[in-house]
C-alpha cells in the first residue's frame, strides 16, 4: 500500500474534465486506487466518485494505491495532480 499527499493546483478545482483525466489514468493500473479528502474516500476509477469529492483549489488530497503496480499508479496520479491538469494554475 502506497500513500502520497498532494494538493489541487489548478484554479478551477476538480470539475468534470480533470476527474475524467484522473479516472482514465487510474483505470490503466490493476491496483485499487482511492482518493481521500478529509474523511471521504472514493474510488479513483470512478468519475462520478471523483466529482462527488468536490475538491476545490488548494484542497489536500491523499492518493492511496494498493496492488501489484501500486507505486507506479500513485506516482502517475501524483504527477497528474502536480501538473494541474494542463489548466490555469492558481
Amino acid at each position: 500500500m502506497v500513500e502520497l499527499e498532494t494538493t489541487i493546483k489548478n484554479r478551477a478545482g476538480i470539475h468534470a474534465r480533470p476527474s475524467a483525466l484522473i479516472a482514465q489514468t487510474a483505470i490503466k493500473f490493476a491496483s485499487r486506487i482511492y482518493l481521500e479528502k478529509a474523511n471521504n474516500r472514493i474510488n479513483a476509477k470512478s468519475i462520478m466518485g471523483i466529482i462527488t469529492l468536490a475538491a476545490s483549489f488548494g484542497t489536500k488530497i491523499k492518493i492511496i494505491a494498493d496492488g501489484p503496480d501500486e507505486k507506479e499508479a500513485a506516482e502517475a496520479l501524483k504527477n497528474l495532480f502536480e501538473s494541474g491538469f494542463n489548466e490555469e494554475l492558481g
Binding site: 474523511n39 471521504n40 474516500r41 472514493i42 470512478s46 468519475i47 462520478m48 466518485g49 466529482i51 462527488t52
Partner: protein
C-alpha cells in the same frame, strides 16, 4: 474482493447551526429559530439525546446530562417565571450556564424571559424556540439526530429500486453496473445513486442508501456517452432520493473455475455496518441479460418476503413426491424387478 470502500465512521461534527439549517420536510420539520446566544451557534452537539433540565433548575446537579440538548417545556418555563419573580434566578442561571450546554430549546413557541436570554448571551449558549409542543419536538428531534449520528459508510456501487426492492449493485469498475442500472431505468425502475452510495444504519437493523451529494443529483457516467442526467432524460418517475437496501447483487466477470449457485437453497449474505443483507453473486458474460436477472431476483426477493421460497418449496415438493406412493409404485411396477 470487489471495490467495497468501507470507511470507518466519520467523527460527526454537528453544530447547533447545522441543526438550525437542516432542510426537513413537513413531518420532520423542527420549526426552530434562534432567539439568543447567537455567539454559541458553533457549539457542537455530541449526543443524539434530549434532557429536561427541571431537576437542574431546582438545584440538583447529580448526573446532570449537560452534553444533551436541554428542552424547556411549559413546566420548566413556569418554574423559570417563578424563580425570576422570587428574585432567586441569578445564581441558578449562573450555575446551569457554567456547564457546556450545546443549546437550550423552548417549546410551544414561548420566548425565554429577558433575564434568561441575557444570561445565555453572557455564557454564549444558544437559545432556540420551537413552535412545536414538547412531546412532538422530542419525537422529531430524536429521530432527526439519530439519523445524523447513525453509523455511515460509503460504498462504490449503484443503488436502484426494482419492483420496490432496494438493490445495491456491486462489482469492479467496468463490469457494467451503470449499464445494468440504465437498462433497469429504461424498463421503468428507479435510480437512487450511481457510483457513490452513502449507507446509514438506522436502528441497527435498517440500511438506508442515498447519494452523497444533493448537488450532483441523479447523474450517471456511461462509457461512450459521458455523463447523463437521468432526471431530465427519464423523468422524475425514474429517480428516488433514498431507499432501504434489501438485496446486494455482486456482478463479476464469469470465472469458469468458480462454482455459482445453481439452486438457490443456500442464502449468501453480506454484512454492511453489522446488518446482514441477502447477497447474490451474478456472473457476467456477453449474451447474459443482467437486467432481467436482476428484475427476477427482485421479484423472487418479494416472494421470499411474502413467505414463499421458490427453491425450498420446489425441493420440498420433490421430497414429498419421493416419499409418496406414486414414486414407490413406479419403482415396484418395473417389469424387470
Amino acid at each position: 474482493m470487489y471495490n467495497a470502500l468501507v470507511i470507518e465512521q466519520e467523527p460527526v461534527n454537528f453544530t447547533v447551526l447545522d441543526l438550525l439549517s437542516l432542510e426537513l420536510k413537513e413531518q420532520n420539520d423542527l420549526c426552530l429559530r434562534c432567539v439568543a446566544g447567537r455567539a454559541g451557534l458553533t457549539r457542537e452537539i455530541t449526543v443524539p439525546d434530549l434532557n429536561r433540565p427541571g431537576l437542574a433548575l431546582a438545584g440538583f446537579y447529580e448526573s446532570f446530562a449537560a452534553e444533551r440538548l436541554q428542552l424547556f417545556g411549559r413546566g420548566e418555563i413556569a418554574y423559570i417565571n417563578k424563580i425570576e419573580a422570587d428574585g432567586t434566578a441569578g445564581p441558578i442561571y449562573q450555575k446551569i450556564f457554567s456547564y457546556q450546554i450545546p443549546t437550550c430549546i423552548f417549546s410551544n413557541n414561548i420566548e425565554p424571559t429577558p433575564q434568561f436570554a441575557s444570561a445565555a448571551d453572557a455564557a454564549g449558549c444558544p437559545v432556540l424556540v420551537t413552535s412545536l409542543n414538547s412531546s412532538e419536538f422530542s419525537i422529531r428531534v430524536i429521530r432527526v439526530l439519530h439519523d445524523i449520528f447513525a453509523p455511515k459508510i460509503i460504498m462504490h456501487g449503484v443503488l436502484v429500486e426494482v419492483f420496490g426492492i432496494g438493490i445495491l449493485l456491486l462489482g469492479d469498475s467496468g463490469v457494467g453496473k451503470s449499464e445494468t442500472a440504465l437498462e433497469l431505468i429504461e424498463r421503468g425502475h428507479r435510480l437512487v445513486a450511481d457510483d457513490v452510495v452513502e449507507i446509514r444504519c438506522l436502528n441497527g437493523t435498517v440500511l438506508m442508501g442515498q447519494g452523497t451529494n444533493k448537488m450532483i443529483g441523479h447523474h450517471m457516467e456511461i462509457r461512450g456517452l459521458g455523463i447523463i442526467n437521468v432526471t431530465h432524460l427519464f423523468g422524475v418517475g425514474a429517480i428516488r432520493d433514498k431507499k432501504q437496501i434489501q438485496l446486494v447483487c455482486n456482478l463479476e466477470d464469469w470465472d469458469p473455475n468458480k462454482v455459482y449457485d445453481r439452486i438457490g437453497m443456500d442464502e449468501l449474505t453480506m454484512e454492511i455496518l453489522g446488518v446482514k443483507v441477502p447477497k447474490l453473486e451474478i456472473p457476467v458474460k456477453p449474451g447474459r441479460n443482467i437486467p432481467i436477472i436482476i428484475e427476477t431476483a427482485a421479484m423472487n426477493e418479494r416472494l421470499k418476503k411474502m413467505g414463499y421460497h421458490s427453491a425450498r418449496e420446489f425441493n420440498q415438493n420433490i421430497l414429498r413426491w419421493l416419499e409418496s406412493e406414486s414414486a414407490r409404485a413406479m419403482y415396484f411396477s418395473r417389469d424387470d424387478y
